[in-house]
Amino acid sequence: MSGAEAEVTERRPAERDELHKREYDLLDTILQDMADAVVAEECYVHVQPRRVFVRVHPDRLREFIRYMQREHDMWQVSTLSGRDLGDDLQANYHFFLNDKKIAITIKVNVPRDKPEYPSITDLVPGVDFVENEIREMFGIVPVGHPNPRRCELPENWPGEEYPLRKDWADPRGLMKRSKTTGPRPKEEL
């Protein structure tokens, strides 16, 4: 699954019609205020109502979060989901602006060989557990996490194996043992 093909076709930007007016106002204010911290061509309003996707440089993430909390009163954190884009890894922070009633997803891309980005647990305590989870599952290390501990996988799980990455092909055949259709390694898909 080459990264480029997913890049091109994955986003469904909505046209600037009356239906998505509020989302586009929010997006414009964000692009205007934090132009340098944001990768402009990958920020868009989704066809689905009340959804905005924004991509931020890893080193400017904390500043962007503080800006959003200050300007747009963003306090409702939903979750943090990781993604494997082939050549680099992506962490998506999902927030919900309660008064504007818009769900904003902040994407942070980190290179596969050095997957680190500054953790935001002290700004948003709600992401404490999910940052540990993304470190175990994807190997994306949120630097500066107050108590990094193993919270999802068992203790004897080898440290360097990250199960949710696409190239993790289940060396010990755990998946094969389950008699369901079971996932086959990437190449058989």
């Binding site: 305590p125 709600g126 557990f129 068992p154 755990l174």
Partner: protein, 410 residues
């Protein structure tokens, strides 16, 4: 009498009492290490992840249809929410409009699932506090909701009503009067239980002023669902981000979000009971003005590449499905954030400062829904050390110990 001048205040030694992973108060295992001074909980640490089954990795190799059933099996009580939310995610990924009647039936199943889940929680809360009579009564009256669900979907727990593009079974017209009668009976019983919750002194003493979660702390720690609404935090996906049949229902304007500013377990209990009554009114509204028409839409199994954030108000809180499709009939990535996962962070905060006897009711107050793997905690009393021991190591140790001192000559 000792003279009061040199009276020494004895601070009870700090004892660390592990509640879990196997404990009668926890229906499913998570490990809470409570540091206790006498009867007061001084520090609490929440260890979860005992029931990680790798659903997200498995879901990446199933087709969307099979994933509907896999995700429904994540949680036994609120399976309709996972099922419905995933169907909703795939439909918005395929950008397909499902028929109006299917929306109404899907929302009806969601609300019925909320009713039976809240009544189940009320019974468990009564049992945690030792009020077994009310536990028996609430679970008897829950059968009315379960029978309705069974007559509509054919199965008590895993309804599997939704498929990509609509609903699988229709609500026949001769069933409607039976449903309305059931709703009235349920509403009358729920009013009685609201009365019991407010007026039974022994229950109210155990619930009032226990497990305080202030509003700003709840906001900061990302609490969701009745736990947050019990602390006056306006978090409800049905009102903030309505989808399916919630859109016309919110337009009528005769339902509004239920909030309570008590910030303790009593507040969460009242919110859940009020929500059940509101859910019953929603259900009767849905059944009364349900439009007729088709209930399914043909959707090709291969979904166009898209990334979708589907949100739904599960009985326990806000459920998130972040779905990324890649053109094949299998999802590229599906992230499932169950509502209980969000409440763990605020759980450690609410446990502090309460009595040990309140721990079970506080744990039950967030209505936790998690399940188990094979880990156990070995607490060595004399060396005061505690280690997490996986089951197979434990089994090896047990066999070795029994070999050394066989029981016969004891």
């Amino acid at each position: 009498m000792t003279s009061t001048s040199n009276r020494t205040v004895v601070i009870p030694p700090r004892v660390s009492i592990p509640i879990g992973p196997q404990h009668p108060a926890l229906k499913e295992p998570a490990m809470f290490k409570l540091t206790v001074e006498g009867e007061l909980i001084v520090d609490a640490e929440v260890n979860i992840g005992y029931n990680h089954r790798g659903v997200e990795k498995l879901a990446e190799s199933n087709t969307h249809i099979q994933n509907l059933y896999l995700l429904a099996r994540i949680c036994g009580i609120c399976s309709a929410t996972h099922n419905g939310n995933y169907a909703q995610a795939v439909e918005s990924a395929a950008e397909v409009e499902i028929p109006e009647r299917a929306r109404y039936i899907r929302t009806l199943i969601w609300e019925l699932d909320r009713i039976h889940s809240h009544i189940l929680w009320l019974g468990v809360a009564f049992h945690e506090v030792g009020f077994d009579t009310a536990f028996m009564y609430t679970w008897r009256d829950r059968e009315v909701a379960m029978d309705m669900l069974e007559s509509i979907s054919g199965n008590r727990v895993h309804h599997d009503m939704n498929t990509v593009g609509g609903v699988r079974r229709d609500v026949p017209d001769e069933l409607v009067p039976k449903l309305l009668r059931g709703f009235d009976k349920l509403k009358e019983r729920m009013r009685y239980y609201r009365d019991v919750v407010l007026h039974e002194k022994t229950f109210w003493d155990r619930v009032a002023g226990v497990g305080i979660l202030e509003t700003d702390v709840a906001k900061k720690m990302g609490a969701v669902g009745p736990t947050a609404r019990g602390s006056n935090v306006p978090v409800d996906v049905r009102f903030n981000d309505p989808t399916q049949a919630y859109v016309p229902m919110m337009d009528t304007g005769d339902f509004e979000m239920i909030l309570n500013d008590r910030c303790d377990v009593a507040g969460r209990t009242i919110v859940r009971v009020e929500e059940t009554i509101q859910a019953i009114e929603m259900c009767s509204w849905l059944v009364k003005n349900m439009p007729d028409g088709p209930i399914r839409e043909r959707v090709r199994p291969r979904i166009q590449p898209n990334e979708v954030l589907a949100r739904h108000e599960a009985p326990r809180g806000e459920l998130i499905h972040y779905l990324v499709t890649n053109g094949t009939d299998k999802p590229e990535r599906i992230k499932v954030r169950a509502p209980t996962h969000a409440n763990w962070v605020s759980m450690a905060h609410t446990l502090k400062g309460n009595y040990l006897a309140d721990a079970p009711i506080i744990l039950a107050a967030i209505d936790p829904c998690y399940s188990c793997t094979d880990r156990v905690v070995v607490v060595d009393a004399d060396e005061q050390k505690m280690e997490l021991v996986p089951l197979d190591v434990l089994r090896v140790r047990a066999n070795k110990w029994y070999k050394e001192n066989p029981r016969r000559d004891e």
